[in-house]
């Protein structure tokens, strides 16, 4: 494999990894705080893709021309509405089951996922849809001839920048603000936190809102980049992002980002080096290997049962 292809695959892998990481954050935070896997999270990402197309069309209809304004507005509107979806999913499907068995919210998560998929299929149609690709300018690096270059589209750059920015903001929120402190307290001992007057339900809602917002960022940027989507994209991407969260150590915020990058890079480099058909096999083999040697993931901490 030539140098150029390799670097191109690394670039693609970083972009893919950033997307996985942004979605994985939602899985890992929810797991951290209530110990359940939110299987509807991938579909929240899918909803964000549809919302992006809707807002893009609406803004164009209203005659907004300037790309930065469109990007910013679409991003903000999509985040707002997707966050509302995240909040509603928790309120409707998980909160009423808070005190039941551990499996109950898992089943209702799967149900929620099916509901969201079919709701979109019914309301938007089952065909693959598209938006005109947006931000299709690109930068070429290491250019040495007609076929010898590494191409990075502006949308790809935006994805990586937004992923880094989003993770930075989230990290700051969790570590340095009063709300983040309350989140960490609820994560460690929800009952004790409520006995100190911290409203656990509000904190949990917030975590869902934050997770959905990150998925919204991913959904919007991927739509800007690829321009096509259908009602089922949430499933595969969701499974991959969940894998990334487990790989990085579920419950750990930096772990989700790292897991996403490792998964994205290995998938992409494998497709460049060997072939594309087996990239998923490779990605999941990697997961199995990591879990054999580090059962709690790359950055996860093993749960020590004190006696």
């Amino acid at each position: 494999m030539s140098f150029h292809i390799f670097v191109q695959q690394v670039v693609n892998g970083l972009v893919l990894g950033s997307v996985y990481g942004l979605i994985a954050v939602g899985y890992t935070m929810v797991y951290g705080i209530i110990g359940m896997i939110n299987f509807a999270h991938g579909d929240v990402y899918m909803i964000a893709a549809y919302l992006t197309a809707i807002f893009l069309a609406a803004l164009t209809l209203l005659g907004v021309q300037s790309p930065p304004v469109i990007i910013l507005l679409v991003l903000l509107l999509t985040i707002a509405v997707t966050a509302l979806y995240g909040w509603s999913v928790e309120r409707i499907a998980y909160r009423p089951l808070r005190h039941s068995t551990r499996l109950a919210p898992l089943i209702s998560a799967i149900g929620m996922s099916l509901i969201l998929q079919n709701y979109v299929r019914l309301s938007q149609g089952g065909r693959t849809q598209g938006t005109p690709t947006f931000l299709d300018g690109s930068v070429r690096l290491f250019e040495q001839g007609p076929d010898q270059f590494v191409q990075i589209t502006h949308a790809q750059i935006l994805i990586v920048v937004m992923a880094v920015l989003g993770m930075g903001v989230l990290w700051y929120l969790m570590q340095a603000t009063a709300m983040g402190r309350a989140c960490r307290a609820v994560q460690q001992d929800r009952i004790m936190a409520s006995l100190l007057g911290v409203d656990g339900d509000r904190v949990i809602s917030l975590v869902f809102v934050l997770g959905a917002s990150m998925a919204a960022v991913a959904g919007t940027l991927v739509t800007f980049n690829y321009g096509s989507f259908d009602f089922f994209i949430g499933f595969v991407t969701g499974i991959k992002a969940f894998t990334a969260a487990v790989l990085g150590g579920i419950g750990s915020l930096p772990g989700a980002m790292l897991g996403g990058l490792v998964l994205g890079l290995s998938e992409s480099i494998f497709s460049g080096l060997v072939n594309t058909d087996y990239k998923d096999v490779f990605a999941f083999s990697l997961l199995v290997l990591v879990l054999i040697f580090r059962p709690s993931g790359l950055l996860g901490r093993p749960e020590v049962e004190k006696v």
Partner: protein, 290 residues
């Protein structure tokens, strides 16, 4: 002295097991009241009901503060509907509101805060952070305010940090502010837990075996602190304790529980000499000593 907390007919059943059977007692404003009794008598269950850990099956728990504020603890913990709620939409609305949004957090906000027999600190947070989390009413929990560090957010944080330092100093933990709570030695963890409870701003502080595992020196210190809290900070204390020396020394009023019922209550020295109490503890009437 007027009662801060009135408990009447409190019952709690777990399936067929009756943990509390018509428990009633009063905690006077500004007093130190001790709840004692043999193991399994239901002392901790009373605390669990008071703080919203359990939903009692029946009875009443009322707080009445010196400033005239009355709180029905059963109601704010989301008590069951009653027939007479149907006659007044207002009562019905309140009942419904607390059913939906009530719970332990509201009991804490009403001023009832407890510590645990087995320490429940947030072990992976620093001592300081533990105290800051407890100041929910004071700090600004708004997401955007925290992100943008608005002026009101910074002011609230500064006040909370100052208050946290006050309590760290008070319990001689000033050097441990930035250490992880889980790394502190046992005795300090106990103190930190009381400091954290004080940061909530309790009016009724419930201590569940605060002296368990402490050496005699630490226990003496603890009793001084408890008395200082009552004297200097207007806190009413309700404690569960097995160390009878401590109970006799600091409490004004003792309530004895056995098999989920109150078998005696009164001044410490009176309770100590009550034959019923001796029998509950020792299983035989008339024997001497605790």
């Amino acid at each position: 002295m007027a009662a801060l907390l009135t408990v009447r007919d409190l019952s709690m059943r777990f399936g067929g097991v009756v943990a509390l059977n018509g428990v009633g007692f009063e905690v006077a404003r500004g007093s130190v009241t001790a709840l004692i009794g043999p193991n399994g008598a239901g002392k901790t269950t009373v605390f669990n009901c008071l703080t919203g850990f359990y939903r009692p099956c029946g009875g009443a728990m009322r707080l009445s503060y010196a400033d005239g504020l009355q709180v029905d603890l059963i109601e704010i913990l989301g008590g069951p509907f009653r027939w007479r709620d149907l006659s007044s939409p207002r009562a019905f609305g309140r009942r419904l509101y607390y059913k939906m949004f009530g719970g332990a957090a509201l009991a804490a906000r009403a001023g009832v805060v407890r510590t645990f027999q087995n320490i429940r600190l947030f072990k992976e947070m620093t001592a300081m952070e533990n105290l800051l989390v407890a100041q929910r009413a004071r700090v600004n929990n708004q997401l955007l305010a925290g992100l943008l560090e608005s002026a009101s957010y910074r002011r609230a944080e500064a006040e909370a940090v100052e208050r946290a330092w006050y309590w760290l100093d008070f319990f001689r933990l000033a050097d441990d502010g930035n250490r992880l709570a889980g790394e502190l030695p046992y005795g300090r963890q106990r103190r930190l837990e009381i400091a954290r409870a004080m940061c909530v701003g309790p009016r009724l502080l419930c201590l569940d075996e605060p002296a368990a595992g402490l050496n005699p020196n630490e226990t003496r210190e603890l009793s001084e602190w408890i008395l200082a809290l009552r004297r200097g900070h207007g806190v009413t204390v309700c404690l569960i304790e097995h160390d009878m020396g401590l109970v006799m020394e600091i409490s004004d009023h003792v309530v004895v529980l056995d098999h989920g019922q109150v078998i005696a209550s009164g001044r410490p020295e009176r309770v100590r000499d009550d034959p019923v109490v001796l029998e509950a503890y020792l299983g035989a009437p008339g024997e001497e000593g605790w």
